[in-house]
Symmetry: D2
Subunit: 278 residues, 4 copies
């Protein structure tokens, strides 16, 4: 018996939960889990319902749409695996962790390919029998390099692009091609230490905790909606290099946690904030 | 406009959310927040709904009860302050923190009185103009002492009894008098270090984290349903005394967090597990 | 038997630990604890030694100084209580926590007075029998207000000034009068959300953790050396006000932790970084 | 230039640091880092010194021994890679994480072989070109199975044996063969949930945090000295299976952290407590 995930957001009004669950009830579906949130400032309603027990609910959506306020967004997400492409540069820890989980069925995605601007990680991808494409940026301007990367991506038609320590800044044009489909792991507790060398910055600022942030990628560097964050405690004995090394564990765990939330369709975006039904 | 909190649990069946929200909708109430949980193993449904917008909903409960399966529990909780009595012994940190929050309106309760088996904390209670009763256990057996404590408690008719480092073990008879109404803070990460001197035990076991646990008090010492837990990192340089001192902060914060959940009626008990809608 | 704390920093060279402990050994002192750190980048040596067992070690310092490289800093700190003055504005939680600990001898300081630009907290200070001075900023420019505050501070001749949610920005001139003697608690995980309304900023950025930072105050707003930091997990259901309220606990615990480190003389400053021997 | 690690523990007495550093100084060594700890209850002194700058310090040890109290333990540890053998059963997450770090030079050990009582993980070991031995326990009593496992271990003459989710209880006889050389990762926050199915136990107890514990293996099941522990926050929505899955990340990170401490020779054992110089 298939599970379905229904994602609805609309201007808030009285009776929404009743009306939405009523359609599901009359159509004979069982609700497996149900999460709602009302943004009081914006007077906007968000609901994620996982349900089961009937035929494919395409018709249900039409019935529901008729009941909901103008401007409602309804989306029926499948509960299967997501097609993804992973971009990385030279560091192995996030990619390796992802490949391991993937090999043992613990990430709800099919990794179609790994793309990198260096050849370093080819052997890692090959260990796990995942196609690896090196698209070097040598002698290419940003536009040309991104075009080459996009060309490889398009072959795989992914639903999401995961930046697993991909150390190139993406142009707005590239980002616009994949709206809300690119997830990045940034090696700091954003918004602290935006930009380059966050571990060096953290060292120099003398912070007592360092962190990692997984976020959707938008035009605005390191400013997309945050999906997951975590930190670990450090002290003055850590060099900038030590911070980078110990930070790797936080990065890989935070990225994995964020991808689980994304692939299970647990996230709504409200401007630059992510509403997450864990 | 008053807010009401409706707490429902019953055997799970299809359409419960629809039916419950339907009654509220037809009566003209607005749902402020809504939380549901289905325990799949026990096939039991839990729902907490905060709603507003109409007259006192006593009649609503009857209508709802008629729709729900046999064995349903419905409870309408008020959103006002809880009447509480605090029991303590000699340590100031949990009581002091609670009195401070109370003085500034940050705990949703009226502290009616502080009762202690020692006089140590009298001056603390008096600073905050709270009646203090010293009920010494000297020369009394447990039964007689508890009878004396109960007598004081009864004067205040509290909805909850908070054990803010009350270092006496309560008899089953005492506990039975206040079912699910006694909240304790235990100075360990339960179920580790049940019983006496948990910090000494933690020191001897050489753990790397110590914690605190707030729980409902049941007959079974340190085994009641857990409401909140937290830990902090320690190392070999901490003596048992150091652990106790650093542990005080975890204890007071964990107790405060648990009381907020209790007083806001966010907890269902399912056997020995607490289902908490934060 | 008195304990002494010796704080030494100097350019690094071979044999420093041997030479320093040699002087103590020959003078008959017992080392209680010993911490060293060498900053490899700056080639600078830091050592904190707590020792006991002899007469006041003034003479020892001279002997030691002769052995150490040019530019060495030696300081003998007492292990008694520090004289402090606390500045606050309207919020009770940090001041209250500090007064409670102080009343029960758990902060290694004598609070001489509380100064505020509002009268709100007078009753709190008075509960604990601490002099309270309201120095309103109404109708005063910053310079004049700070002069008035300083005048009160000078009466008490404090070793440290604790800003327990003092919501006024201090001028460089004021800060310069108390070098490395002012400790502030900032209600964010610095360097994230520098400046005003950090909880509002955190809400709008949609972070998944909020924090607090205790730091020395320097000319540069929110940029002084960090002493202690901590965070707690939050989610999209928290309003900016909820963040402020839940953040209070992190603030007060972080401030208390930092003050313990300061008053126990466990901190060296190296530029903008704090080297902390916990 | 080689680094050396000197580990000394002895009954405490005045002047130990001075005497030990004096020998190193006269022999022309530079101290890189130095950590001492005195257990006040047991009046015992522990020191770890990393130093460099001279010939192999074998002679130094003799000179030092002559200065130290009777009963002193001195050990010179190399700073190179440790020879290790990894035992696992069916779960991939700890072994996989270790193999990844090993492949990229981030674990200070050479993994000689993986041994398992099942064939499940053979392909994982082979991806990373590590010999894999399946030593099935089918039709063997515990004694016979351990003898077979030991026979494989002996081929590799490892300095440490890492139990990366090896789900068989080891006999005292087996443990005695490798004193303080076996490191295990236990899937709970010990001493909570000793024994089988800790995640099931945690679920049933309704705890709000789950954890993992890396420890040396002794005769006494789950009671050996603790090296590292960590926890993560959970709630009532997690099934026992969910706890197991989310716990995997804590397990692998905690094991990696512990192995780093072990391989860098940062640990002294004092009875059942680990003194760790991080």
């Amino acid at each position: 018996m298939d599970n379905y995930i229904l994602l609805i957001d609309c201007p808030d009004q009285t009776g929404l939960v009743y009306q939405i669950t009523g359609v599901l009830y009359r159509c004979g579906y069982n609700i497996v889990t149900n999460n709602e949130f009302v943004d009081r400032e914006a007077r906007h309603f968000y609901m994620r319902t996982e349900f089961a027990g009937g035929p494919h609910p395409a018709a249900v959506l039409d019935e529901m749409r008729a009941l909901l306020p103008a401007g409602a967004n309804l989306r029926l997400a499948n509960t299967g695996k997501r097609r993804i492409v992973v971009l990385a540069t030279k560091e192995y820890h996030c990619l390796g962790d992802l490949l391991l989980r993937h090999a043992y069925g613990e990430v709800q995605a099919d990794i179609q390919a790994v793309i990198s601007n260096h050849a370093t990680l080819a052997s890692l991808a090959h260990k796990f029998d995942i196609p690896f494409h090196c698209v070097s940026h040598a002698n290419l301007d940003r536009h040309a390099h991104e075009a080459a990367v996009s060309q490889v991506i398009e072959q795989y038609n992914p639903e999401y692009i995961v930046l697993a320590k991909y150390m190139r800044i993406l142009s707005p044009a590239f980002v616009a091609r994949y709206p809300n489909q690119i997830v990045n792991i940034h090696h700091s507790f954003l918004p602290a230490f935006i930009g380059a060398s966050p571990y060096r910055q953290a060292f120099e600022r003398g912070v007592k905790l360092i962190g990692a942030t997984a976020h959707y990628v938008t035009d605005d560097l390191d400013k997309g909606p945050i999906i997951a964050q975590d930190v670990i405690r450090i002290d003055h004995t850590y060099s900038a290099n030590d911070l980078a090394q110990i930070g790797h564990d936080v990065e890989k765990i935070t990225l994995a946690k964020a991808l689980k939330l994304v692939f299970e369709e647990r996230i709504f975006l409200s401007g630059n904030r992510a509403i997450i039904f864990e």
